[in-house]
């Protein structure tokens, strides 16, 4: 085959014509009549403004916006569908998950959590590598938060409504004073948990582990001495709980476990059931109980058959 400029250019064009047809034109045209998915809705102007900020600042290099069928992290309650994307311009699918997927972020947290997080992610997530966005200024951060809360569309709207409902309740309880607040908090913990003592023994290694978990997950809000005065405190309302007020107010290992596992929707207190497995939750709960509240029910006699690794005491 003799190559001449003509052969090259013509041949090249003949090759690329079907390529464009197949890889650009066909998906484009067929994609145009993709019906909206069950959750889809259009975005409001402020949500669009927030999306522009997201695009311009490159959040997409660390965050994807699609959920796969083998994901575990936030958003994994729903696998993404093609109809979720019909209004996306540009697409924000992303190629890296340095941070978690955000396609269902709406309603995961209340607005005050987001504000603290955007000002400095390490205030609420001590191990985070996400940049601080304080320089964007309050107005643009509010737009960004509006966009975050819209991710997940109609499903997100439901979650956001729920956050707002419980936020009003939590503020009411907080403003009624510690007694009422604790009563309110524990009033929503289901019965078997309230009475459940921590079934494991308090041990030095266990407290050490609890301390480690506390430093990676809790310290930014509840503070190094558990008084609720961590760096995120000025942004959050109701503020993070001061653990010392739980003294003599009927706290149990089960309540701590339940609250840490499920979080307190409406307040900044997130759920940790995705981040922490069972033993870590017991450990951090008991660390709080022993160190800050000074009242631990760990290892009481009602505890049943001991775990095989625990030290042998007496006949059991």
């Amino acid at each position: 085959m003799k190559m001449t400029p003509l052969v090259l250019i013509l041949g090249g064009l003949i090759v690329i014509a079907p390529v464009l047809l197949m890889n650009v034109i066909t998906p484009w045209v067929t994609g145009l009549d993709e019906p909206p998915s069950d959750i889809f809705r259009t975005r409001t102007p402020i949500e669009e403004q927030g999306r522009d900020i997201y695009v311009n600042n490159g959040c997409t290099y660390c965050h994807t916006q699609y959920i796969r069928d083998f994901d575990w992290d936030i958003g994994s309650q729903r696998i993404s569908k093609a109809g979720d994307y019909i209004a996306e311009i540009p697409h924000l699918l992303g190629t890296e998950r340095t941070g978690p997927d955000l396609s269902q972020e709406g309603g995961e947290h209340p607005d005050d959590w987001h504000m603290a997080h955007f000002v400095n992610p390490r205030f609420v997530r001590p191990d985070s590598v996400m940049p601080s966005w304080e320089f964007l200024g309050k107005e643009r951060l509010l737009a960004l938060i509006a966009y975050k809360q819209s991710l997940g569309f109609k499903q997100a709207d439901g979650r956001v409504e729920r956050q707002k409902y419980w936020k009003a309740e939590a503020i009411g309880a907080f403003e009624a004073g510690p007694d009422k607040n604790v009563e309110w908090l524990h009033g929503h913990v289901p019965e078997p948990w309230t009475k459940l003592p921590d079934p494991y023994m308090t041990s030095v290694p266990g407290l050490e582990r609890g301390h480690r978990v506390y430093q990676s997950f809790c310290i930014g809000c509840h503070g190094p001495i558990g008084d609720g005065m961590g760096p995120a405190q000025p942004f959050l309302y109701p503020p993070p709980l001061n653990f010392t007020i739980l003294q003599n107010r009927g706290i149990s290992g089960g309540i701590l476990y339940y609250q840490i596992m499920n979080g307190i929707t409406g307040t900044a207190m997130p759920y940790f059931k995705k981040d922490l497995e069972s033993e870590k939750i017991w450990d951090v709960g008991n660390y709080i109980a022993v160190t800050f509240i000074g009242e631990s029910d760990a290892g009481q006699p009602t505890r049943g058959i001991a775990v095989s690794y625990e030290p042998v005491e007496g006949p059991k």
């Binding site: 067929t30 600042n57 997530r125």
Partner: protein, 464 residues
């Protein structure tokens, strides 16, 4: 006008200089990003140093500024050389050079100020896109006019790759940046993801790859002092890359709900990529068989040789990680970042540097300022690249494994901290190498060569 001065091979020379400059900038951006991931609050509150504004600057500086400029410089030298005729128009060449560099600068500065179109390697705002298209157009015009006026009966393989690469890049850049939509530079919905990755993949596969292959085809037979092994293999390699590489962009978004038939096309095409890759490599290897010693003596040849080794590694890894079962583990984490550095830097970047060191002395008419420094640069880059690849792959496997087994992303951050730290450390080698390169290129163009080195080079016959 001094900036547009007409001199023989002046355009190619300045493209090489630009490349060396962008390389320094690109590595500095890289090290800023690497540091951000280790100590996120180090540059706290400085908007133009924030990770995610610098990251697209880093990728586009490297792809277009560093590797792109050197590849274009080499192309503008090679086309006339294999056509045995001077470049059609040096003034047009200089104009394209300045449009090119100014467009890159505009793209980078606006990114830093927080103006981005958000799609990978297509982030630059519309005016920069138009500039780049214009520059590509002018360079193509120059090359085709030169090729048409050739005094050599056959068109050498290198010029096929260069001309086709330029045409394809133009088309892909035009569509990929959706230049008919200046404000967004995108289209709606999932088709935008498909389009963006048709483009993103085209940038590495139809811009960087063909031009780097063109340089290899030019330099390998010359350094080996032996004719090219096979014309047929050249033909197969050339046409098959055009047919196959253009179809596989969707392998970047296999786990999204894009149409299944596109995924099938992308996966099978990715596997078929073995054909164009292996034909080129076999052709070049058989050309250099028994003559490896010559490549150790020629600094340009040495870089090209190393680049070809990275090429085969990249293209073994590529088809494997296009398989859905593999992507469950490797997609979305630093495994892919290791691959992209091996492709863009290890393969095309190293060959671009080979082109620079081989061609620059032939333009200036005297040896490069210091082969010793170029050698130091070679080893720093080789070490840096190998370390980078190892560290990022390891970190990526940790992430991929953890996620697959139920860890949250937040939980994996402390696990990969050590890999991020090591990555930053290896990055320092790149920064050092880039500064050495810039110094060497400037002295080679402007200054007189060092006396002692000329003698040793004469003795080893380095500057034929």
């Amino acid at each position: 006008m001094q900036l547009l001065k007409v001199e023989e091979n002046g355009t190619a020379k300045l493209f090489f200089l630009s490349s060396a400059f962008w390389f320094v900038l690109g590595t500095l951006e890289g090290i800023i990003d690497a540091t951000d991931m280790v100590i996120p609050d180090l540059f706290g509150g400085i908007p133009w140093l924030v990770f995610s504004r610098v990251r697209p600057m880093h990728t586009t500086t490297m792809i277009f500024g560093f590797v792109g400029s050197a590849l274009l410089g080499a192309s503008i030298y090679i086309i006339p050389a294999v056509s045995r005729t001077p470049l059609w128009n040096e003034r047009v060449g200089k104009v394209s050079l300045w449009i090119w560099n100014i467009s890159i600068a505009v793209g980078l500065i606006t990114l830093d100020l927080g103006y981005s179109q958000g799609r990978e390697y297509a982030e630059w705002i519309w005016p920069a896109d138009i500039g780049i298209l214009l520059a590509f157009g002018l360079i193509f015009l120059n090359c085709i006019q030169t090729a048409v006026r050739r005094n050599e009966k056959v068109m050498y393989v290198s010029s096929w790759y260069i001309l086709a690469g330029l045409v394809y890049t133009w088309i892909i850049y035009f569509f990929g940046n959706a230049v008919w939509n200046p404000s967004k530079g995108a289209i709606y919905g999932l088709p935008d993801g498909i389009l963006a990755w048709f483009y993103g993949h085209g940038v590495v596969g139809l811009f960087l790859t063909p031009l780097a292959v063109a340089i290899s085809y030019y330099i390998v037979p010359r350094v080996a002092r032996s004719p090219l092994y096979s014309h047929t293999l050249s033909l197969v390699g050339f046409w098959s890359i055009l047919v196959i590489y253009t179809h596989i962009g969707t392998h970047h978004i296999l786990q999204t709900p894009v149409p299944t038939w596109l995924k099938v096309l992308a996966i099978s095409g990715s596997i078929a990529m073995i054909i164009p890759v292996m034909t080129v490599l076999v052709n070049l290897w058989l050309t250099m068989r028994g003559r490896l010693g010559l490549f150790h003596q020629d600094i340009g040849g040495k870089f090209v040789m190393a680049g070809l080794v990275w090429y085969i590694l990249t293209c073994i890894q590529g088809p494997v990680q296009a398989l859905p079962i593999v992507q469950r583990m490797t997609h979305l984490n630093n495994w892919v970042i290791a691959h992209s550095h091996m492709g863009v830097f290890g393969f095309s970047g190293t060959i671009a540097l080979g082109g620079l060191y081989y061609i620059l002395p032939r333009i200036t008419g005297r040896p490069i300022y210091s082969t010793r420094l170029a050698d130091v640069q070679y080893w720093l880059l080789l070490l840096g690249m190998a370390g980078f690849f190892g560290v990022l792959t390891a970190g990526g496997l940790v992430q991929g494994n953890s996620w697959l087994n139920g860890e949250t992303v937040y939980r994996t951050l402390p696990m990969i901290h050590v890999y991020f730290s090591l990555r930053a450390a290896f990055g320092v080698l790149f920064v050092g190498a880039a500064f050495i390169g810039l110094y060497n290129v400037i002295r080679s163009i402007a200054g007189e060569p060092r006396q002692r080195e000329i003698q040793t080079e004469k003795a080893t016959g380095q500057t034929q």
